[in-house]
């Protein structure tokens, strides 16, 4: 659907398309500096396009600090880059909705959907909270878990199955912001406070992509690789001449996706030794003349208000590439905040292997105030699609056994799933 939508930005009439967020509409209209940093007034552009980084905050229809990457574009919307104080808004109506469920699943990606399915099939009342407007999580991103087509098909299939079950309530656009122990699990859904009162909590919140550190890493034109994929999804490009810098296989996958979309790649910079990189991914890039430089890193990005050049260092040798965008992949860390907040744990322990991750408890834990919590998928530790589905399924079954008591048929399923685990983690 590419129906044009007229909107206003800083008093100027612009056009976007149906399906755009305000951020992608502004980006396709040519905007690169979306905000300025608080202390140093440095220009900032969209970095994550996932509602996390805070660079794309603008005032929308009088509401301050709106994440424009998470704001759907509508006809007539008025967007201002200037920061505003909060002010009374006519027609504002805040409501509270309370739901009761046996188990609440937080996150509608492959792990969460699998957990919801398993729990529902075992007879539990399930509420599934998904922050995005659609189910799928990482499945919607090329290469995150599978190719785009596979991922989307799987997401669609799982969503259909869930939708067909009468004991699953799916709340979209519902961002879980706390698990208050003796109180409910709380989510924000627009101007509604959604409270979920559940006897077990399955956390499937996925992972946060991490940025890389280099000089001027805050310049507009620097994108996280997942942000670059989101741009491609809207038929947009992070730039015409792009440098890709990565320390993980996912970055190589994104480089291939950019090439597929006709983006000129000036260099693929991989901080690892070649032995640690995925052979097939490296092969794909080499076949298109974009083989990675290994043991290399970005030293510096340069540009007055956006990326104009990227300096790559291999040891002490530096090479400057003219580029208008730098796509980075610093790896992923589990989105363990909810778990840390709910349990008071979440100790960060640096591991010697890369990438480092913030340790979160795997399996079911019972918090000090009696909440049953199970963390699965990328939210527990970074893994692949198969593992996410298996862990989610295990969590759903375990919830059923914990809440409904022993049941031989259900136990048999659990045993089968667990047989696929190694050392307590699905491999």
């Amino acid at each position: 659907m590419s129906e044009p939508l007229a909107f206003v930005f800083d008093g100027r009439a612009l056009q976007g398309r149906a399906g755009d967020s305000v951020a992608t509409a502004l980006y396709s209209a040519g905007l690169r500096a979306f905000s300025h940093s608080p202390k140093l007034r440095r220009p900032r552009g969209p970095l994550c396009l996932a509602g996390r980084c805070g660079n794309c905050l603008m005032t929308v229809d009088g509401r301050p600090n709106q994440r424009t990457c998470r704001t759907d574009l509508r006809a007539g919307i008025a967007v201002e880059s200037e920061r505003r104080s909060p002010a009374a808004r006519s027609g504002a109506a805040f409501t509270r909705v309370t739901r009761h469920a046996d188990v609440v699943v937080i996150g509608g990606g492959p792990a969460g959907m699998s957990a919801a399915l398993a729990a529902a099939r075992a007879g539990l009342e399930v509420t599934l909270l998904e922050a995005d407007g659609a189910l799928g999580g990482g499945l919607a991103l090329e290469g995150a878990m599978a190719t785009t087509a596979e991922g989307r098909d799987l997401a669609r299939a799982l969503a259909l199955e869930l939708g067909a079950l009468g004991n699953v309530h799916i709340a979209l656009g519902a961002e879980c912001f706390a698990c208050y122990g003796t109180g409910p699990v709380c989510a924000r859904q627009g101007d509604t406070l959604l409270e979920v009162d559940a006897r077990a909590v399955i956390v499937a919140t996925g992972a946060h992509e991490q940025p890389l550190l280099f000089e001027n890493n805050d310049l507009p034109g620097v994108f996280l690789s997942t942000a670059a994929l989101r741009l491609l999804d809207r038929g947009l490009r992070p730039g015409a001449r792009v440098v890709v810098a990565t320390v993980a296989d996912f970055g190589l996958t994104v480089a291939s996706a950019l090439l597929e979309a006709g983006v000129q790649i000036r260099a693929v910079v991989d901080g690892r030794e070649e032995a640690h990189a995925s052979g097939p991914e490296v092969g794909r890039l080499r076949a298109r003349g974009a083989g990675p430089m290994f043991g290399a890193r970005v030293a510096r990005a340069d540009g007055t208000s956006a990326v104009e050049a990227v300096t790559v260092a291999v040891g002490s040798v530096e090479h400057r590439h003219e580029a208008d965008a730098l796509v980075t992949c610093g790896g992923f860390r589990p989105a363990g905040e909810l778990c840390a907040q709910a349990t008071g744990a979440g100790e960060f322990v640096l591991e010697t292997a890369t990438p480092p991750s913030i340790a979160t408890p795997p399996g079911f834990v019972t918090t000090a105030d009696g909440t049953r919590l199970f963390v699965v998928g990328n939210a527990a530790s970074i893994g692949d699609l198969r593992r996410a589905q298996r862990e989610g399924t295990i969590a759903g079954i375990e919830a059923a056994l914990a809440l409904r008591g022993p049941a031989p048929a259900v136990q048999a399923q659990l045993d089968e799933q667990r047989a696929g685990l190694v050392d307590g983690r699905a491999r």
């Binding site: 940093s37 608080p38 202390k39 140093l40 440095r42 900032r44 970095l47 994550c48 509602g51 996390r52 980084c53 805070g54 660079n55 905050l57 600090n65 504002a92 805040f94 409501t95 509270r96 922050a131 961002e175 879980c176 912001f177 706390a178 208050y180 709380c186 924000r188 101007d191 509604t192 406070l193 409270e195 946060h208 991490q210 940025p211 550190l213 280099f214 000089e215 001027n216 890493n217 805050d218 030293a299 860390r333 989105a335 905040e337 909810l338 840390a340 907040q341 979440g346 100790e347 960060f348 322990v349 640096l350 480092p356 913030i358």
Partner: protein, 95 residues
């Protein structure tokens, strides 16, 4: 690297050089260096920066056994109006 333009925390403009200066001034653990510099206290609530922040402190301190600063709710920004919708009728004692 010239640490003055390497941003560990974009939301609050905290650079590697700022962290080094804070460390030298005696703020040697994540909780105190976070408070001194403001790192990880901005709009992203640490999602993009806390790992780099703790790794930077670990590098400055020469140790790996560091805890990330405590996670506090809400985990994403919640408008006051939404939060207020959760208030139950409370006794208001006469003062």
């Amino acid at each position: 690297m010239n640490g003055e333009t390497v941003f560990v925390c974009l939301c609050e403009d905290v650079t590697l050089a700022d962290l080094a200066r804070g460390f030298a001034a005696g703020f040697r653990e994540p909780e105190t260096l976070k408070r001194y510099t403001g790192a990880c206290t901005g709009a992203c609530q640490g999602k993009l920066c806390v790992q780099a922040f703790v790794e930077s402190v670990a590098a400055l301190a020469g140790r790996a056994d560091l805890r990330r600063p405590s996670v506090r709710p809400p985990l994403s920004p919640v408008p006051l109006g939404v939060l207020a919708a959760g208030a139950r009728d409370l006794e208001t004692p006469a003062c």
